[in-house]
Amino acid sequence: MLLRCKLFGKTYEFRDLRELMGKANEDKSGDHLAGVAASSAIERVAAKYVLSEVPLWALYEIPVAPYEQDEVTRVIMDAVDQNAYAQIKTWTVGQLREWILDNKTTNDDIKKIQNGLTSEMIAAVAKLMSNMDLVLAASKIRVVTHANNTMGEMGRLASRNQPNHPTDDPDGIRAEIYEGLSYGSGDSVIGINPVDDSLASVQRLLDMSYKVIQDWKIPTQNCVLAHVTTQMEAMKRGSPAGLVFQSLAGSQKGNESFGISVGMLDEAYEIAKKYAVVPGPNYMYFETGEGAELSADAHHGWDQLTLEVRCYGLAKRYAPFQVNSVVGFIGPEYLYDARQITRAGLEDHFCAKLTGISMGCDACYTNHARADQNSLENLSILLAAAGCNYFMGVPMGDDPMLSYQSNSFHDAPSLRQILKLRPLPEFENWLVEMGLWDKEKLLLTDKAGDATMFVR
């Protein structure tokens, strides 16, 4: 294998596809930590240039981890539609980029080849794209799902109501749910991260959140983001759950560090189909994030974007209602500052949509990253323009349980107003019935922001 080019008279050569893929990435601290990043700006460009001439079949044949040794690889490879793959396998990565961006290429065209792509190919094409390329390309691709309501249609933007509480106090969580609903947050899911992962705690929060949904006839679904096994047990015992959640990694070893396997996820999916209190056909909710594999020493010497896209390949097996990367949560040793977090957020969203899954984003940061609420707001505007399916809704963006900052209850209505977007259709009608949303002007009404309307 020869991977070589010249720039300004100087030769740049790359040992193999793994090295090439690492060095073709935009600058990220995690790739430096892993020792796979380009050593100079010009070497990065050389890697992108060489990668653009690599045919897709080469990426198909050299996955991150061998088929025999890694079940995530097996999930991705076994799902490849060989007819679709035959159409594109001789394309180069550069050709794929220009084809996706071409004005003649539509959502339908992309859907026709989508199932012939592997995660490595999708990560490769993202490495050749600028930020605006990623926004434009993603904006072409719609992935529509349905649980209790319809996610992902053109012109819609949803918000996960994330009412976390440092001691899981049901009264406090309920108060936050009310506040969020009064701002039109909750159409993606009412999703609670519990402090206490025990069965009793998870059951209590499922019961409480489901009761709010029932009492106010809200077209949405609930979810308690405990370990998947706890949720499965709760559902078997009759607890009402709308979506089943789990965090994913892009390699078998990474998933082992989360205490999960493909077999376990298959079982969770079957239980969800059987017991989830929504009509479906989509029942699953996954979270991901660049760098998780490296932190578990499960990256096989590959870059963090490629591993991230393999999470989407795995997620696709379960036709998830929604997936989001928690892009800024991991910390500055993986994504150092606002610029790197922004880039990763745009990459993750595009790659997930090209994979064919319903993608949102937890645009967020921790307090030791060089980022702030302004940079998080910037990313959410870019992603909303890219057709991102949903964001988080946290009281003023400050989550005192997870100790990080994300989008606020105020952000979804602001984005809807700025970009002329609507809540999910069933939820929009409910908001109108509640007198909270002006369907003509696409604005919150004067009644918004008063949580006491939900206290009878």
């Binding site: 106090d169 406090g172 500055p332 003023m396 602001s414 206290v455």
Partner: protein, 299 residues
């Protein structure tokens, strides 16, 4: 000599002529109103009363809103301007984030180190940015630091204590005066042989192992600044381990965390730490192993 008044009347005449010719538009020049000095003396909006206040306009049930707000530390009842934040809640949030950021990039006050006779050494991280990017470097002493500790520190003590900024030097400044004497006195009263205390800039928790490769203590203890929460940069932790080795990890350590006035009180935290150290010395173990021994599951 020509007076100010005469100059002004000449200027007025010239300006009037220019205006007549249409060369200058007839506008009133800016005249200060003389309404008085601007005096702004604003209250501290980070005080509890501003944090617990409801900022929602035209709230239907004010009592109910107060009750809802009392159930959670989350920022609810904050109202809105259009779909955005109102001013005061916005400033409270910004102030909270700002103290967090300042804490993260702040260096420790040298006077405080002097007060406690702590000499300063550094890890292999050469600056704050490298410290954030390379956690591995924060777990290793620099060559200079190794030499200094060799020279200055008592070897083979029962207990070695050192202090490190970690992710918040402010946390050390907030807690050191309270917690440090409690730990020192507690250990002295127990008749334990103390190591020579010092301060490490840019330390991570795992530095315990590298420090003990030099001092060879039975128990090594570090007071270290925690990752700041929003508006809460003052929390420190104490991590400690029995005979830390190069491969010791979190499972081999014990921790007292969230130490600050408002969390785990630093005086009480100091007492917990002394108790932990005594138990570690008694059972010659720490972390999970100590827990299992004390539960009678393991020896």
């Amino acid at each position: 000599m020509i007076t100010q008044q005469q100059i002004e009347s000449i200027i007025d005449a010239v300006v009037a002529e220019l205006q007549r010719q249409g060369l200058v538009r007839n506008e009133r020049p800016f005249v200060p109103s003389g309404a008085g000095d601007l005096n702004l003396d604003l209250p501290d909006i980070t005080a509890l009363e501003y944090r617990t206040r409801a900022y929602v306009e035209n709230v239907r049930k004010p009592d109910v809103l107060r009750a809802l707000m009392s159930t959670t530390p989350s920022r609810i009842g904050i109202g809105h301007a259009g779909p955005r934040y109102r001013n005061i809640p916005q400033f409270i949030f910004l102030a909270d984030h700002a103290v967090t950021q300042d804490a993260l990039f702040k260096e420790i006050d040298p006077a405080l180190l002097q007060q406690f006779n702590l000499f300063e050494v550094q890890t292999q991280a050469s600056n704050r940015q490298e410290y954030l990017l390379r956690p591995d470097l924060g777990r290793k002493l620099s060559d200079t630091a190794r030499k200094t500790l060799q020279e200055k520190c008592v070897k083979k003590p029962d207990v070695q204590i050192y202090v490190s900024d970690g992710l918040s030097a402010a946390a050390i400044e907030h807690n050191l005066r309270d917690i440090f004497p409690v730990i020192q006195q507690g250990l002295q009263q127990a008749g334990l042989k103390m190591g020579t205390p010092f301060y490490v800039k840019y330390g991570r928790v795992g530095l315990l192992n590298d420090v003990n490769s030099i001092v060879d203590a039975k128990v090594v203890v570090t007071l270290i600044g925690e990752r700041p929460g929003l508006g809460r940069a003052e929390a420190a932790s104490v991590y400690m381990g029995y005979r830390p080795q190069s491969d010791s990890n979190d499972a081999d350590r014990d921790v007292v965390c969230n130490i600050f006035n408002g969390g785990t009180n630093p005086l009480e935290a100091g007492a917990y730490v002394v108790e932990y150290i005594k138990r570690m010395l008694k059972h010659q173990a720490s972390g999970i192993k100590l827990k299992l021994i004390e539960q009678g599951i393991s020896k």
